[in-house]
Structure formats: structure tokens, C-alpha cells
Amino acid sequence: MSGQQPISEFKQYFQNIREAVVSVSKGMGITMRTFLKVNGLRKQLGGYEYGAGPVTVSYPEVKDNIPLHSRNRLFNHVEGCIACNQCAVICPVECITIDSRKKTPEENPDERTPAAFGSKPKKLKLLRFEIDEALCCFCGLCTEVCPTESIVHTPEFEYSKYDRDKLMYNYLSFKDDNPLPKV
């Protein structure tokens, strides 16, 4: 240490031992205190009481609450989709594929989306709407530009698959083929 007068090596040896024992036992004291505090106050975790109990969550039996705006797997309500292509254009990784064409007179061109999606006119027929969830970067830009809010983020995050191709979701014929049982 700088700023001290030189002490003999003999004295330095014992001083080192003393410092080592003191600092390590200070650390051990903190660990013991935390151990006793955490195990003595086992409470149900709710709200945000910081420091009020153990922080480990016994997943998958107990699951943490997912907040309201959380960005997990996407879902598109096709009855509300007007095929405007905005989500495909803004996506930074180009994971959305949309095919559409103009409706013929037999296909009810005056149809409007349901009231929950803003009742916008549906002039185009949606032929294909696929999202490759393996590419999706969960930035949320597509949900911000959608004029009818038909594409949304769901709280679903436990959808891992063994095969990368199975992560290509087709929203015109959507099958929720999640292999994990819902606990």
C-alpha cells in the first residue's frame, strides 16, 4: 500500500494474515446474514416488495407475471387484416411474407373489418400471410404501424420447436401446435 512507512517482513507476514482473516470473515458474515434473512422471511412474492424474500421462482410450477406490453410471439387476426403491407415493409429483418390481390366483384369488395379492428374497408384479398418467427427480432415495429391493430404481440414465449421450419407460422390457417403442456 502506498503512503505507509516500510515495516519488517516478519510483521508484514502477520499483518497479511490478519487482514485476510478480517476481510474474508466480513464477507462470510454478509453471506450468512443474507442466508438467514432470505430463508426466515418466506413470503408469497406479489407486487414489488424489493428485498422481501427469496427471488428464485420455481419455474415451471410457478410462473412470473408477464407485463402488459411484453413483446413475445406475434399473432395476426386475419379478419382484421386489410393486407396493406405496412408490417412487411417496416420489418427490419423481412420475416413477414404477404401475398394479396384485388378482390373480384363476386368476393364482396365492400366488406369492412369488424368493429374491434376499426371497421376499415377490406379491398384486397389476402392469399398468404406468413411470419418466420425464427427470424423475428421482437422489435415491435410491425405492431406500431398496423392501422387496424390486427397484428399484436401475445404473452406466449414457450414455443420452442426441434425443427427450424416449424417456426414458420401461417396465420391464414393457424394451428397452435405447442408441444409443451400448459401447466
Binding site: 476481510s23 464477507g27 411484453s70 417496416i90
Partner: protein
């Protein structure tokens, strides 16, 4: 007994080329270091980069400004808010748009919370690199609280896409303000406890004090910034010298290395500057939340901006000064985006500073420089 020297045989040694490979728990990412050692003493260390190169600069030339923002998060994924803030400030300089007061205050709160989270990761992993397993989980437990706050605010735990050109995406609700104040109140004694646990520990001090000395002249010549520069005694903090986003209103100290344990410029000082900076960040958050007023959180900026000109803007990130150089030609996509990352510079001073160290000290040195390969390789 006859020793080898006495019997006339020479004890020959040879230098070994060791590969501290890209997969290594202590290199903070995928960094490969070719180490030439003579026994325990290092003769030379050559870092080899590029294992995490994801072509950020080439991607940025083919995407609109709003689409480049999620890519900016992923540069230094540990401190994502600060990366977004730098890009948005550079873009706002080109667009010459005025940011509302509340948006500036929210940006400051969020950046300082991110700074605490990033420093917690830095000191936590540093402790486990040295060999102390306990402090890492203490640091990560508190980091989890911050990530939960961010998940409620922006929607994601690590890569937020929250700070936008013109302001922020979503307002800070009343409940969230109270939560952050409660967190600051809870965190201060936890941080003091962490400091007591690790900083004075004799084993930790012996391993990090007087190791990896960087003199102030060397730090400036290499262009180091942030804690690496302040740990060497140079009082330079961009939040105080060239304030941005309303930092001039807050009262905080810029933390410089001192001579109490070890010497100025060694690994212990850089580590302790990070701990003390967390205390200063708590002060800033409390001040910002005390004086925040209701108002707009987004200025009037078009969705597809078309700026012209060129700008270079640096901000103070937890790892140093991150700079964005944007060349804009009036179209929706940038012509060139160059990122000056502080970790790049921290690694470049390896060759010179590691010769003469022992092999175990190189781990302490790497951890104290605190770089993340995501921003080094881009």
C-alpha cells in the same frame, strides 16, 4: 545432491504459444487471444477479433433510420438504452429537432438505470472471473429488478427499441415512477453491502491491485475513454464536459481513481470506479424523478425521416465514449453509419500492456477493461 546447473547441463526453457480460444468464460464474449508465454510470464499477447462480426455497418446502409434502431440495440447488448440514445441524438442533430423536457428527463432516468445494470454485470462477472462466486449472484439479483422495470416500460428485457428519434416510445406511468423510486431506496444499502463484500477482500485486492497499470499519457494516446480513462486519473466525463439530453441540470460527481488501495491506473481502481459510479447514478435518477413534470414524450418527427449532412456525436456509455458518425444524403436510408466503440480501443492496448504480466493477471486485466464483443466486432 547434484543440481542440473552444477553438473554442467543447462536448464532450457521454450516459449509456448497458448490459444485463449474464442470459447472461454473469461474473455467476455468471443475473443481469441494468442498468448506467447515463457513459463508463467507472458511475452506477447495478440488479440484476434471478428468472431462476432455481424456487418452492422453494411446492414445500416440498406435500411431506413427507424429500422436501423433495433440493430443499434444489439451492438452492446448489455447496455442497449445507451446505444439507442447515441444514435437518436446524432440523428436529431441532423434533423435539428427540439426534444421536449419530459422526454429528456425520461431518457436520463432510463440511461442511468441501464448504466447501473451494465456496471452490475461488469463487476459481477469480474468477481467470478477472479474466483469469488458469491458476489456475482448478488449483482445479478439486483440487475433482475432493473430488467423487470424495463420489461414493464418497453416490452423487452434486454433489447428495448424504446428511445426513438424525437423522444421515447411510451410514457413513464405514475406506477412505474414509484417503482423506480422504491428500487433506488432498496438498492443503495444493497450496493453498500456489495462494496463491503468484495472491494476490501484481501484475495481480491492481491489479485487486482498494482496489476495492469495504464498511465494517463498512455490512456490518452490510445484514445481510451469512460472508466478506463478515469481510473487512470484523468477527470473526463462527457456528461459533465459536453452535456446532452439535460444532464447539466443534475448534480453529480465524475468518479476518478484514487490512491487508497493499490495505485491509480490499476485494475482495482477501474473496478472501484464502476462501483462508485453506480452510487452517482442513483443520485441522478432521484434528482430526475423529483423534478420531472408532465408533458409530451415525443416531438413532431416524421416516421420516414430524410436528413442531409454529416455528423459525429459521442455519448457516455457505461463502457466508454460511444460515437456514431452518420453520413446522410437526403434519402430514407443512411449512406454510411460508422460506430466508434470503446471496447475496440480497450482491446487495442493489449499488445503493449500485457508483456511481463503473469498468466493469471491477463484474466484480471481483461475483466477490468470491461468490453463486450458485440460492440467491438459490430
Amino acid at each position: 545432491m547434484e543440481t542440473p546447473q552444477a553438473s554442467g547441463q543447462e536448464f532450457r526453457t521454450q516459449e509456448i504459444l497458448l490459444n485463449m480460444g474464442p470459447q472461454h468464460p473469461s474473455t467476455h464474449g468471443v475473443l481469441r487471444v494468442e498468448v506467447v508465454t515463457d513459463g508463467e510470464i507472458i511475452k506477447a499477447a495478440y488479440p484476434d477479433l471478428g468472431y462476432l462480426h455481424r456487418c452492422f455497418e453494411k446492414h445500416a446502409e440498406n435500411r431506413e433510420y427507424l429500422q436501423v434502431l433495433p440493430f443499434c440495440d444489439r451492438l452492446d447488448y448489455v447496455a442497449a438504452m445507451n446505444q439507442e440514445l447515441g444514435f437518436c441524438l446524432a440523428l436529431e442533430k441532423l434533423l435539428e429537432v427540439q426534444i421536449p423536457e419530459r422526454a429528456q428527463a425520461v431518457r436520463v432516468v432510463v440511461s442511468e438505470l441501464q448504466r447501473i445494470a451494465s456496471h452490475l454485470l461488469a463487476v459481477g462477472t469480474y468477481s467470478i472471473d477472479i474466483g469469488g462466486f458469491t458476489p456475482m449472484l448478488y449483482a445479478f439479483r439486483d440487475r433482475e429488478h432493473i430488467l423487470s422495470i424495463f420489461e414493464e416500460l418497453s416490452g423487452a428485457r434486454l433489447l428495448y427499441n424504446y428511445i426513438r428519434p424525437g423522444g421515447v416510445l411510451r410514457d413513464l406511468s405514475r406506477g412505474l415512477e414509484d417503482k423506480i423510486k422504491e428500487f433506488c431506496r432498496y438498492f443503495k444499502p444493497q450496493l453498500q453491502e456489495f462494496d463491503e463484500l468484495l472491494s476490501g477482500n484481501k484475495i481480491f485486492v492481491e489479485r487486482t491491485a498494482n496489476v495492469g497499470m495504464i498511465s494517463p499519457e498512455m490512456a490518452i494516446a490510445y484514445g481510451l475513454s469512460g472508466v478506463n480513462l478515469r481510473g487512470s486519473g484523468v477527470n473526463w466525463d462527457l456528461r459533465k464536459e459536453r452535456p446532452y439530453s439535460g444532464y447539466e441540470k443534475y448534480d453529480f460527481k465524475s468518479v476518478v481513481g484514487a490512491n487508497d488501495v493499490g495505485q491509480v491506473g490499476d485494475c482495482w481502481n477501474r473496478y472501484h470506479c464502476r462501483v462508485r459510479e453506480m452510487f452517482e447514478s442513483i443520485k441522478i435518477i432521484e434528482q430526475a424523478l423529483a423534478q420531472i413534470q408532465p408533458g409530451d414524450t415525443m416531438a413532431k418527427v416524421a416516421k420516414a425521416v430524410k436528413p442531409t449532412g454529416e455528423v459525429y456525436m459521442e455519448t457516455e456509455c457505461p463502457r466508454g465514449n460511444l460515437g456514431y458518425y452518420i453520413v446522410a444524403d437526403g434519402s430514407k436510408k443512411p449512406y454510411r453509419v460508422k460506430v466508434k466503440s470503446p471496447g475496440f480501443i480497450s482491446i487495442s492496448c493489449f499488445d503493449e500492456l500485457t508483456s511481463g504480466m503473469m498468466l493469471a493477471d491477463i484474466v484480471a486485466f481483461i475483466g477490468s477493461l470491461d468490453f463486450v464483443m458485440g460492440e467491438v466486432d459490430r
